[in-house]
């Protein structure tokens, strides 16, 4: 994969030599102002705006939508396709090189996966090429409290949050035969004790300043985690619940969001039905990736499989962008085409939920980091 720097350099060179002069972005995103006029702009709530303009300044969105006034002298890029916010995958292990867990103790709440990241790893370039501009990196659910998640941009090496969630694992992977705790009861007792007299990350979670990422797998684990969240008044999201839609009342009562996927071709229809049920019940949804074991394109494929099974396309798109950003806790920085947010956007050849569309260009912090020369 071509490195980001190389792409930027190529972009600069080509821009200088090419006829339609696109001002080369400075490598830090600079104070450049430009506008992009797209045939269609897809907003976070699924609405499409035709002939819309995105105005970018200093790496941030100045304005977005129809009838945006482009000041004189500002270069305008034309795109005959769809413009959207960059996608966010709310679960994965990109850039960790397998260093996602520590076997020695079951509670390592102060650990931060952000400390284990190689931000230059090709995993990020792979995600970027698929239109993903933000990734939530998560510790593996092999410990009861494996640490905190991180949210990073897939280009430019920006860490949006080095402690986005406290990860708590309610799966049986966290229950080892030769390490305390060995049972769900023991795990719950330990967590109850930690939350009764909280310190550090637990205190942040109890105070509501740090959302919790509940790792689950089966339906009884999903229910247990949802009821635990309700009991302790914790907010956040569930991940890994293959059939969360079948324990809807517990999930709804907890107010937790649900991170679904990724789904490989051949995934049993029951799991897709579960996502449709969650969408129908208006449970906040986001999509996870499990990269690098899954390729970046698997994110859109998962969403397309859910939509084919009956999920409202608007909800699917929301899950891939604004909803995902909210669940990741970075909704005020990315995930929407709104003034003040970072200029992380993607130019597509067609509607992104249609798999026949492809990524044409990707911009992060206003700089083009993937895509053809103009």
């Amino acid at each position: 994969m071509i490195s980001t720097t190389k792409m930027l350099t190529t972009g600069v060179l080509a821009a200088v030599l090419a006829a339609p002069a696109y001002p080369a972005p400075a490598s830090d995103g600079g104070a450049d102002t430009y506008a992009v006029r797209a045939a269609r702009m897809l907003l976070a709530d699924g609405r499409e705006v035709e002939d819309a303009v995105l105005l970018v300044e200093g790496g941030k969105i100045r304005a977005a939508g129809r009838g945006v006034d482009v000041p004189a002298g500002v270069p305008v890029l034309e795109h005959d396709g769809v413009l959207t916010a960059g996608m966010i995958a709310c679960h994965g292990y990109s850039g960790t090189r397998g260093e996602t867990g520590d076997d020695t103790r079951s509670v390592l709440a102060e650990a931060r996966i952000a400390n284990a990241l190689d931000l230059g790893h090709s995993d990020f370039a792979n995600a970027l090429a698929a239109g993903i501009t933000t990734l939530v990196i998560t510790p593996a659910p092999d410990n009861l409290a494996p640490g905190s998640t991180a949210v990073v941009k897939t280009a430019g090496g920006t860490i949006l949050s080095s402690a986005a969630h406290l990860s708590l694992s309610f799966t049986d992977d966290a229950l080892r035969a030769n390490r305390y705790p060995t049972s769900y009861g023991g795990a719950l007792a330990e967590l109850d004790a930690r939350l009764a007299d909280p310190s550090g990350a637990f205190a942040e979670a109890v105070a509501g300043r740090l959302p919790v990422l509940f790792e689950v797998s089966s339906r009884d684990e999903t229910q247990r985690a949802a009821e635990f969240a309700t009991r302790h008044g914790l907010g956040g999201a569930l991940h890994g619940a293959r059939r969360a839609g079948e324990v809807l009342s517990a999930v709804q009562q907890s107010g937790l969001g649900v991170i679904v996927g990724p789904f490989d071709p051949g995934t049993p229809g029951r799991q897709l039905d579960s996502v449709v049920a969650l969408g129908g019940a208006r449970v906040p949804l986001a999509f996870g990736l499990d990269a690098p074991q899954e390729d970046g394109d698997a994110l859109r494929l998962s969403a397309a499989m859910c939509v084919r099974d009956g999920l409202d396309p608007a909800l699917a798109w929301q899950g891939l962008t604004s909803g995902g950003a909210d669940i990741a806790g970075v909704g005020r920085r990315v995930g929407r085409l709104e003034a003040g947010l970072d200029a992380d956007f993607v130019l597509w050849s067609g509607p992104p939920l249609d798999l026949t569309s492809s990524v044409v260009e990707v911009y992060v912090d206003g700089a083009r980091v993937f895509g053809g020369v103009r």
Binding site: D123, D264, P265, G266, T267, P268, G269, D290, A291, P292, Q293, E294, D295, G296, D297, A298, L301, A304, M305, V307, R308, P313, S349, P351, L353, D354, L355, T356, S357, S358
Partner: protein, 456 residues
């Protein structure tokens, strides 16, 4: 009481009720099922579209396609935006017993039709049909070195005899696949190619031996007849000569050895070998050989080794590094079945350079591209989504549709039965509310062998 089974039966009730009822009471109880399908765009084949046309189906066959058709009395009328032929998954394991699909110890004589599992989860079967996949190529041992004889199977909602379209549709083989995590040696893979080529050569020799035997047998018969005629004439003289020889031998105390005629020895046929029987059919081009191979070294070696078999019909499955030999593939008219699925890392070594753009690049190089789901369990349902992904990464829509219909049928020798909407072909068609392969398009009706299996 509400159960899944009852819900499925409820939803399918009118569909599974059997032959469609006739409209008027004067018909007999067993009136042939007639469907009249009208659409704004009738995709006879990719690139050939009839606007505002219709298709008439009777007794499981397409009997008419055109613009000015009239629905006969009693026909069930359906309409939609687009009508096209049902999709074929050229590399599937759907409906095949799982153990047989993964079997590593098959041989060319293994028959996939012996391993069909008709009792696949009915919900999954409906999902696959609902996605438009009406037929699939199944192969026992498709990932083993020498796979068996594959079958082209129609996806029917209920087990039945009409499911097998072509019981002998191809023979599978594979080269260089990572097996059981054992360390792989470059020489092992090239050795696999040699073995495969040798097996084809054996088949060819076997065929030649059989043909030689036929010729020899004929000659022998002729010679015998001649000799017998001769003997008839000189019977008495021959008898006298023989008696004289016998007496001579007796006098001399020697054993009498009767003169043996060359013609007495009947030529014997070559020893029957079931594997060679199959490979003979491969060698003379009767059955295509589908070889799963990915690395360019192995591809080159395979192409080189098979060049001398001028009647061999080779098909590549996988072909992750096929771009390296694209020119030769195009020249020799060797199609490639691409599996366009996003693969993560780590991945088996042979898929190292696989990416979603392969189908598009091969098409641009002039190679016939087919599409399949890589034999992954249950994945046939998602074939149209994978095809869309391939389109998104460079494959033209037209070739994607051809890959799913006409080209797959033609390569697998069922082009006279399915793959396009033409008179005389089996009625496997889809009615859609938009262009095929667009993710927003919904398939509203599926007709399989003339039966409406999905939709009302």
């Amino acid at each position: 009481m509400l159960t899944l089974a009852s819900l499925v039966t409820l939803a399918l009730g009118p569909v599974l009720a059997g032959p469609l009822p006739s409209a008027t009471g004067s018909r007999e109880a067993e009136a042939p099922a007639v469907l009249f399908v009208r659409a704004e765009r009738v995709y006879v084949r990719p690139g050939e579209v009839i606007d505002n046309g219709a298709v008439l189906v009777r007794d499981g066959r397409i009997v008419a396609v055109g613009r000015d058709l009239v629905a006969p009395e009693g026909a069930r009328k359906l309409s939609g935006k687009v009508v096209c032929a049902g999709f074929v998954d050229a590399w599937s394991s759907f409906g095949l017993d799982a153990g047989s699909a993964d079997d590593q110890r098959t041989s060319p004589a293994t028959r996939t039709v012996d391993a069909l599992n008709e009792y696949v989860d009915p919900r999954l079967r409906l999902e696959v049909l609902g996605a438009g996949v009406t037929a699939a190529r199944l192969n026992a041992g498709s990932s083993s070195r020498e796979g068996g004889v594959g079958a082209l199977v129609r996806n029917r909602p209920e087990p039945g005899a009409d499911a097998v379209l072509l019981g002998d549709c191809c023979v599978a083989a594979s080269v260089g696949l990572t097996r059981e995590g054992r360390g792989r040696d470059v020489f092992d893979s090239l050795g696999e190619v040699d073995k495969l080529v040798g097996s084809i050569a054996d088949g060819l020799n076997y065929l030649r031996d059989k043909n030689d035997y036929k010729v020899d047998l004929e000659e022998w018969r002729k010679a015998i007849t001649e000799k017998e005629a001769e003997l008839e004439k000189d019977f008495k003289k021959a008898k006298k000569d023989r008696e004289k020889d016998e007496k001579e031998a007796e006098e001399k105390g020697k054993e009498y050895k009767p003169k043996k005629y060359k013609e007495d020895k009947k030529p014997s046929p070559p020893r029957y070998d079931e594997d060679k029987e199959v490979m003979a059919r491969v060698a003379n081009g009767e059955l295509p050989l589908v070889v799963q191979v990915h690395r360019c070294a192995e591809l080159r070696s395979l192409l080189e080794g098979t060049e001398r078999f001028d009647r061999l019909r080779l098909v590549i499955a996988g072909g992750s590094e096929a771009m390296d030999v694209a020119d030769e593939l195009a020249e020799r008219d060797i199609p490639v079945i691409v599996w366009p699925a996003p693969l993560g890392r780590p991945r088996p070594d042979e898929f190292e350079d696989a990416d979603l753009g392969l189908a598009g690049r091969l098409e641009a190089a002039g190679v016939t591209v087919l599409l399949g789901t890589g034999g992954q369990a249950g994945a046939s349902r998602d074939l149209p989504l994978l095809a869309a992904l391939a389109v998104g990464h460079g494959l033209t829509r037209r070739q994607a549709l051809a890959a799913l219909t006409t080209d797959a049928a033609a390569t697998l020798d069922v082009g006279d039965r399915i793959g396009s909407l033409e008179t005389g072909k089996d009625a496997d068609l889809l009615i859609l509310d938009g262009e095929p392969l667009a993710s927003s398009t919904r398939i509203t009706h599926v007709i399989s062998h003339g039966d409406l299996v999905v939709g009302q």
